[in-house]
């Protein structure tokens, strides 16, 4: 009524480096409505949600010059309910808008007697699926733009930089199956007082800097390393733990059951589900207790600081992990094994490592230095710095199956020496091999009691291949650990020796238990099914006993990382994947010229790419910094982008609304404007300018 769509069909224009308001739609919606206010009174009926779904609307007699605040006042009086109404507001159903400006008159809003108004709380419970797969129930603001709602949610969850996240409509789950048998656990955060969380969204307009470091820290928000509202009760602490500690690897079956996009087109469909961040939840059809996913949307992670970003880092890791497990992003087999090893390591460390990082690093250093010194001083013969073992050694090349010969082996510093027998070990060794810089690979078969260590020892002439066969698990673990340390130039006295032995044991244990637990044994901390560390494709390709050694192989490079380092490493490798950060949208070009061929547009933090569906190849890349402007024709839902050098592209989107594409591009440009100097304040206005389109105004 007020505004015809045509009015909004102005193209949104945005210049890249000088960001301008995107649009132009006329502002005052009310002007177009009748301007003949009759001072005479008329009846306005308002449904009060709190009276119950079946209660009749409350009818008020009003005049057009009554302001909204007055309406609410009279409404509350009439209901005769005593309670805190401060969060309530009036929702105009036909127009899909909130009447939040209490000083505006009914006339200004253009409300007539036929308006269907609903008086209800602005904050309502919402089920929020986190990246780690857990569902939270919390109060979210239904009346402010999603962007602000999100800021409130992130604030409550202690996630910095909410601009990188967004809300996603979940995939429809096929309800056919036993929908009810698995009552999933929902963590309830609805009791958190709004003042510590969601309500903040109301104030954030006037205080856009609420989310900065200083703000976080200056507010007494951290108790025991967690925000105050999480420190209230054991229950809340448990929720915080869930947020900030990585989840154990999912059972392989769970992964296998999840939806996996099979193609780029499938992936493109997911991006059609993002909520519009410039409109509020209720406007987008989200109702109380609906389910939404909270996800990182913009793959430009700014200023990750493990100290402050515990939850953010954890959730980011979870999202990355799932994207790997579900093959949302492609990687090679080697990379998959490394991801698997890191997951294994992270899950192991996060279970053992106390959450609070602390203690003086300096003292630790000193202590470990002293420790190693002590070990050294204990004498060359001490068992820690030197190991004696009878082992069987088989020399060069696997092909010469001469069998193994038994020698007396001695491990010292980073070298192994071997002798014909123990008696001769006092004299000159037959050979001494320095393991520094060598490659160490396991070749183990628990069932066959085969414990081989394969050493690739660099020498000027090439690499010498040597196999050490150990007699039992214990010996193997020790020698394996020693070889690994030596290959990194560390001696047995290194403090990591024992932990290395332990981790080898635990890996061996995995191999031992896997065959029996091949079924549905839930992963517990002692034995992780390695299948749960890789995507389902590898479930078919490798049996567990084949997979475990490969992951173990990759594991040796990461086994000594701390939790934070391991998380960071995981994210780094993830970000180094060629397809990282690409969000796909299917689009049509030349829509009016006849050739209708779907193509895929990939939106990355720094560029757009065009993918030919036939070949799967990147056909064209456009970088944002060459972009002069982009326009959206909201009328015909078409995007036009102009690049330097007179390159123009125009397309309409198929799998997502053009608003989503517009928001992606604008959002990434916004992300790139963040910088150290200004990072402490979130420029919400700019974000809306860049992403909002006409609604921003």
């Amino acid at each position: 009524m007020c505004v015809s769509p045509a009015l909004f069909s102005f193209p949104g224009v945005c210049l890249l480096h000088s960001v301008r308001p995107v649009s132009f739609a006329p502002r005052s919606l009310s002007l177009s409505s009748s301007r003949s206010p009759r001072m005479a009174g008329w009846d306005l009926s308002v449904t009060v949600e709190d009276l119950g779904p079946d209660a009749p609307p409350v009818t008020l007699s009003v005049t057009s010059d009554l302001h909204v605040g007055g309406v609410i006042l009279r409404l509350v009086e009439k209901t005769q309910i005593k309670r805190d109404w401060s969060d309530h507001a009036i929702w105009w159903e036909q127009k899909q808008r909130w009447l939040l400006r209490t000083s505006w008159t009914l006339e200004k809003y253009g409300i007539h007697a036929d308006a269907r108004l609903l008086y209800m709380p602005q904050h309502k419970p919402l089920k929020l699926g986190l990246p780690n797969g857990i569902t939270l129930r919390l109060h979210a603001c239904f009346s402010s733009p999603v962007f602000q709602t999100l800021m409130g949610i992130c604030r409550m969850l202690n996630i910095r930089h909410p601009e990188e996240l967004s809300l996603l409509r979940p995939l429809e789950e096929k309800k056919k199956k036993k929908d009810k048998d698995s009552a999933e656990e929902i963590y309830d955060l609805t009791e958190v007082p709004r003042s510590s969380g969601t309500l903040i969204t109301l104030h954030s307009l006037s205080r856009p800097d609420m989310h900065t470091y200083e703000e976080w820290l200056s507010r007494p928000c951290l108790y025991n390393g967690m925000p105050a509202h999480f420190a209230d009760s054991p229950k809340m602490e448990a929720i915080y733990k869930m947020l900030s500690v990585t989840q154990p690897p999912p059972a392989p079956e769970v992964v296998a059951k999840q939806y996996r996009p099979a193609s780029v087109v499938d992936k493109a469909h997911i991006n059609g589900r993002w909520l519009d961040s410039s409109r509020c939840l209720i406007q987008q059809g989200i109702r109380e207790n609906d389910r939404l996913w909270l996800r990182f949307k913009y793959f430009a992670f700014y200023d990750i600081e493990p100290k402050y970003d515990v939850v953010r880092l954890t959730q980011l890791y979870e999202q990355a992990r799932w994207s790997i497990l579900l093959e949302d992003i492609d990687c090679t087999e080697e990379e998959m094994m490394l991801f698997g090893a890191l997951q294994y390591h992270i899950s192991k460390v996060s279970q053992s490592e106390p959450k609070l990082l602390s203690s003086s690093a300096a003292m630790d250093d000193l202590e470990s230095a002293l420790q190693s010194l002590e070990v050294k001083m204990d004498g060359e013969s001490s068992s820690a710095s030197e190991m004696l073992h009878v082992t069987i050694c088989f020399r060069p090349k696997k092909l010469t199956l001469k069998g193994y010969k038994q020698y007396w082996f001695k491990f010292q510093d980073t070298s192994i020496s071997y002798y014909k027998s123990k008696e001769e070990s006092i004299g000159e060794p037959i050979q001494q091999i320095n393991l520094r810089g060598c490659e160490v690979a396991p070749d183990v078969n628990m069932a066959a009691q085969k414990f081989l260590i394969r050493l690739l020892i660099p020498a000027p002439e090439g690499m010498n291949e040597v196999y050490l066969r150990c007699e039992n698990e214990q010996q193997y673990a020790q020698w394996m650990a020693a070889c690994r340390l030596a290959s990194k130039g560390k001696s047995l006295a290194d403090s990591s020796f024992q932990s290395e032995i332990k981790s080898i044991h635990s890996f061996l244990a995995m191999q031992r238990t896997n065959p029996s637990s091949h079924g549905n044994t839930p992963a517990n901390d002692e034995s992780i099914n390695t299948h749960s560390l890789v995507s389902p494709r590898y479930h078919k390709k490798y049996k567990t006993k084949q997979l475990t050694p490969r992951i173990l192989d990759a594991y040796q490079n990461v086994a000594q990382l701390s939790l934070t380092d391991a998380l960071t490493r995981f994210l780094q490798i993830w970000q180094a994947l060629p397809d990282f950060g690409l969000s796909y949208i299917t689009f049509l070009t030349n829509r009016f010229k006849g050739s209708r061929k779907d193509e895929v547009l990939g939106i990355a933090p720094n560029r757009l790419i065009r993918i030919d569906l036939g070949v799967g190849d990147v056909v064209k890349t456009w970088r944002y910094n060459n972009m002069k402007q982009w326009n959206v024709n909201w009328d015909i839902r078409q995007m036009a982008i102009e690049f330097e050098g007179n390159v123009n592209i125009a397309f309409s989107c198929v799998t997502a609304d053009c608003k989503i594409v517009h928001e992606f591009i604008g959002g990434y440009i916004f992300m790139s404007t963040r910088s150290r100097e200004k990072s402490d304040t979130l420029n919400e206005e700019l974000f809306h300018k860049l992403t909002g389109g006409h609604e921003a105004l």
């Binding site: 992670f301 990750i304 492609d330 990687c331 090679t332 087999e333 080697e334 990379e335 490394l338 003292m363 000193l366 230095a369 002293l370 010194l373 002590e374 050294k376 001083m377 060359e380 510093d413 810089g437 490659e439 660099p458 020498a459 000027p460 002439e461 090439g462 690499m463 494709r537 490079n557 960071t568 994210l571 780094q572 490798i573 970000q575 180094a576 994947l577 060629p578 397809d579 720094n606 799967g616 190849d617 890349t621 910094n625 060459n626 050098g645």
Partner: protein, 745 residues
């Protein structure tokens, strides 16, 4: 004595090598790690020299031992060297005596110089030394023989011995490690134990830390490295294990007075594999050098390599390589900045997504096979036949954890590669052709650079960018500095032109340089060396110890000297112990010498230059001897000179010194080829040693030299600690020795 001889031989051998190789492809810019092995390797012509050299080395060990006994000062030094000497003792004995005689002749002056240095060093270090270290006290080497002192010093730093060894040519790695391990272990326990118990107290903790640091210091390995410059000259430096390439480059900047731009690189070449690689600035230099074999022909070059940081100058050629050239050329600076920021300033560096058909040399065959390769952060992959390019189908060709990337040279000829644009990947320890080396061949130079740089980014990530920023800063500073100080610097820089001149001239230049330092000292005769010492003093708390390291370097210079003057004659005459040390320094430092006069104070400390100065000092003493022996040596010298010419070139840089030459000839000349006369002294020593060697076993280790190397370092840091305990003893012993010697004459 022995040391001197050793040095001389070294010089000769190295020089000769340098010259000869020059005939070959790499010669002109080759840098050698001076090593025994190399020396031995010397081409056919040099064979005899090598043999002599090796013998000398062996004898040196013996000498040091015997000397120690004689002087009563001996203790520590022998420990490291003993093993090597055992076998040859008998054989060499006769020679030994000769050396002693020569030593006696020279000793007084040398001793004086030594003392001066020692005192200076001690004063400097005394403060540093902590009580904890006392326990460590190392037996001081025989005072008379410089070598011993170094050893004593080195004892603190086991590494030092190693380094010398490395320089001398034996397997660098083994000697170093062995020596280091034996001496070090004991000291640590002593010092640390007491403190441990009292950890609670912060004070104690601090002390412990200090002690630990010193212990670490003691283990530091040092190498004497000869770096070849573009003009064919070379510089010799001592590099310790903790120094990264950036620091070494900075040292070279000071020594060469080049423009310090970001392209300057240190490259290693391996003639056998025909490959070349520029070290990354953050890499430690010693480690890769330790991988060289003892008979390695590998060299280290100091030169400009545009591709080193090309990715930061023109990131578009790497990150937008798919675009056409026009678009790339039109790219604005701002866009370049954005590209760099995007790719290097994130949480991790982004590897350019390269994809190309490359030729892969098949294992063990001469044929090359084409494959479609892709570069990813995790490694190089190829697309198997009949599969798609999707990530899941890629086959991993290689990951970067254990390999470095090298440029191949002339593989078309050697391996029948389709083009000459080849690179290869191998474990740094592999030095010979092997199935574990992966050879890849690109269609054009552009692709090759793309890939090599891409691999470097994948391997080193953001540290490349850090390196670049540091290099840029350095270049900016130096450009400002040079502008201001151009006049003053000009002299030193002049050398370069001189360098261009070929060997003969260079040789002269070389000599000259050294002379400057010596000149002053020369007047005094042997004493002159002292002046040079001053610079060294700093580096060498152990004063002479530094010189020992030099000896290693010395090889290059000695050659000149030897060549020019009659190595044979002089070697014998010169007292091995005293001279040996000086010569080496001279050798190494010849380049430095020039500096010493002007820049010594400033430069010496950083590079170890100090050692060089001492060498000069030592040289000065030598000159006299040379003079005596001159006649005979000359002939040999000449030949060698030519061969050795390369070394001279470096000196040219220092041409300024030339004026001093005259003086030099007297004293410092020996080191530089130019002053034929001076050479004699060193030469003589060398010659004798050489002669001796033949009889003895070639392989003998010059353990002593290694030890000396350490001294230099000690001066700088932890060494001081060790020095304390040993320092006192050493001094007293030195005094004794000196007295003895004086009385004897």
């Amino acid at each position: 004595m022995t040391v001197v001889v050793f040095l001389v031989l070294f010089l000769l051998s190295s020089i000769s090598r340098g010259r000869y190789p020059s005939g070959g492809a790499d010669v002109h810019e080759s840098c050698n790690l001076t090593r025994r092995s190399e020396d031995f390797e010397i081409s056919e012509k040099m064979d005899d020299i090598d043999a002599m050299f090796s013998d000398l080395l062996g004898e040196m060990d013996l000498l040091t031992q015997s000397l120690e006994q004689e002087t009563a000062a001996p203790t520590s030094l022998p420990t490291t060297t003993t093993t090597t000497t055992n076998n040859n003792k008998e054989v060499n004995f006769s020679i030994f005596t000769d050396l002693n005689e020569s030593l006696h002749e020279l000793e007084d002056t040398d001793l004086d110089a030594l003392m001066a240095d020692l005192v200076a060093d001690l004063n400097a270090t005394e403060e540093k030394l902590a009580a904890e270290i006392q326990g460590l006290k190392v037996p001081s080497p025989p005072p008379p023989d410089l070598p011993p002192p170094p050893k004593g010093l080195s004892a603190h730093h086991p590494a030092s011995p190693a380094s010398p060894a490395g320089s001398t040519g034996s397997n660098v790695s083994t000697p170093a490690s062995s020596s280091a391990s034996s001496p070090l272990p004991p000291p640590p326990p002593q010092s640390t134990k007491p403190t441990k118990e009292e950890i609670e107290a912060q004070m104690k903790a601090d002390k412990i830390k200090l002690a630990l640091e010193k212990l670490k210091e003691a283990k530091v390995k040092k190498l004497v490295v000869k770096v070849l410059l573009n003009d064919g000259s070379s510089k010799t430096l001592m590099v310790d294990e903790r120094q990264n390439v950036r620091e070494v480059l900075d040292n070279l900047f000071e020594k060469t007075h080049c423009d310090c731009n970001v392209d300057w690189s240190l490259c290693e070449t391996n003639p056998e594999l025909q490959l070349e690689r520029a070290f990354e600035d953050h890499e430690n230099l010693v480690e890769p050098l330790l991988a060289w074999t003892r008979d390695s022909e590998n060299k280290i070059l100091f030169k400009e390599r545009g591709e080193k940081y090309e990715v930061f100058k023109n990131p578009q050629t790497f990150y937008l390589w798919k675009k056409d050239n026009k678009a790339l050329k039109a790219i604005k600076d701002k866009d370049k900045e954005i590209l760099i920021k995007e790719n290097f300033c994130g949480t991790s560096a982004i590897v350019p997504d390269l994809e190309a058909v490359l030729h892969l040399k098949e294992d063990g065959k001469k044929s090359w096979r084409q494959r479609l390769f892709q570069l990813r952060a995790s490694g190089i992959y190829y697309v198997p036949k009949g599969k798609t390019k999707s990530s899941r189908d890629l086959v991993c060709f290689l990951q970067f954890d254990n390999v470095n990337v090298y440029y191949g040279k002339d593989f078309k000829g050697k391996y029948k590669a389709p083009t000459d644009f080849c690179f290869l990947l191998k474990h740094p320890q592999i030095q010979k052709d092997s199935q574990y080396i992966k050879y890849l061949c690109c269609d054009d130079a552009c692709t090759m650079n793309l890939w090599v740089t891409g691999i470097r980014i994948a391997k080193y990530g953001a540290s490349l960018y850090e390196n670049f920023k540091t290099a840029e800063k350095r270049a900016a500073v130096s450009s400002v500095w040079t502008n201001r100080s151009a006049p003053s610097c000009s002299n030193p820089s002049t050398p370069s032109p001189t360098i261009k001149a070929k060997s003969p001239s260079h040789a002269n230049g070389h000599a000259q340089k050294p002379q400057p330092g010596p000149t002053s000292t020369d007047v005094g005769g042997v004493p002159p060396p002292p002046p040079p010492p001053p610079p060294p003093p700093l580096p060498s708390t152990s004063t002479f110890p530094p010189s020992p390291p030099e000896p290693v370097f010395a090889p290059p210079p000695p050659p000149l000297a030897a060549k020019s003057s009659p190595k044979p004659a002089f070697p014998q005459q010169h007292p091995p112990p005293n001279f040996p040390l000086p010569p080496p320094p001279a050798m190494d430092f010849p380049p430095p010498p020039p500096l010493p006069p002007i820049a010594d104070h400033s430069e010496a400390p950083p590079d170890f230059l100090p050692p060089p100065p001492p060498s000069f000092g030592s040289l000065s003493p030598l000159p006299p001897l040379p003079g005596k022996s001159l006649p005979p040596p000359p002939p040999p010298c000449f030949r060698r000179m030519d061969q050795s010419l390369p070394p001279p070139p470096p000196d040219p840089g220092f041409l300024p010194p030339p004026p001093p030459q005259p003086m030099f000839t007297g004293a410092g000349a020996p080191p530089p080829p130019p002053p034929p006369p001076p050479p004699p002294p060193p030469a003589p020593t060398a010659a004798p040693s050489a002669a001796v060697r033949p009889s003895g076993s070639v392989r003998k280790m010059p353990p002593p030299p290694p030890k000396r190397t350490t001294p230099t370092l000690p001066a700088g840091g932890g060494g001081g600690g060790g020095g304390e305990g040993g320092g006192g003893d050493f001094m007293s012993e030195l005094m004794k020795a000196m007295q003895k010697k004086r009385s004897v004459p």
